[in-house]
């Protein structure tokens, strides 16, 4: 399943700097785009999402950008903190899910973010 790709397996950033996590997808059949964070021995935790009709959504230190023409999604974390060190997954929710069919999230493979003090 190559619909969703996170091409960087890892990212290392200095505390206080910007972290930029990227996600690419191969078709346009998604309505919502989400970012999850995962610590070891825990389940994924929802961070932020964006609808396909928008190109930016901001929540505190987290901003998600959607470029539909490029089929590209990114998450910016500013300023980065050591507690942000985790695996970050993009997850996409399909178009036309609803009614009696509740759509599945399609996950990327994740990027390990390490924020150094």
């Amino acid at each position: 399943d190559q619909q969703v790709k996170q091409n960087s397996p890892s990212l290392s950033v200095q505390e206080g700097r910007i972290s930029i996590l990227n996600c690419d997808y191969t078709n346009s059949m998604f309505d919502y785009f989400l970012w999850y964070k995962k610590y070891p021995a825990e389940g994924p935790t929802f961070l932020i999402s964006i609808s396909s009709i928008k190109d930016k959504n901001e929540d505190g230190r987290f901003t998600v950008f959607l470029n539909k023409s490029a089929k590209h999604l990114s998450l910016h974390i500013v300023p980065s903190q050591p507690g942000d060190s985790a695996v970050y997954f993009c997850a996409l929710y399909p178009t036309n899910a609803g009614g009696t069919s509740y759509g599945k999230l399609t996950f990327g493979q994740g990027t390990i973010l390490t924020v150094h003090p």
Partner: protein, 115 residues
């Protein structure tokens, strides 16, 4: 903050045995899901459940798998005859609404090891 609770945290079973993974979703949530992550691979959707029936399932969710909401609080995943390739982290999730914009709340997972 409300949590999705999964038990056990780790289950070891012999190949061919049945296992039941248990989940207690958030109490006011109406939509329930199972996902799994095989070591080194992506998190994969298995099944979604609403109004006491399966609303969608993936090709992974074959006849060996079943889900049930036996009472008002538990949501279970049963694997009838486990295979080595069923070894994975299994995550239960729940949501108040079915559409995905607000995300799903995931449990901490059950690590299933089939030997």
């Amino acid at each position: 903050e409300p949590e999705v609770t999964q038990t056990p945290s780790h289950q070891v079973t012999q190949m061919g045995q049945e296992v039941i993974l248990r989940c207690v979703p958030i109490s006011n949530h109406l939509y329930f899901y199972w996902y799994r992550q095989i070591l080194g691979q992506k998190v994969e959707f298995l099944v979604s459940f609403y109004n006491n029936e399966i609303s969608e399932k993936s090709e992974i969710f074959d006849d060996q798998f079943s889900v049930e909401r036996p009472d008002g609080s538990n949501f279970t995943l049963k694997i009838r005859s486990t295979k080595l390739e069923d070894s994975a982290m299994y995550f239960c999730a729940s949501s108040e609404m079915g559409q995905g914009l607000y995300g799903y709340t995931f449990g901490s997972g059950t690590r299933l090891t089939v030997v």
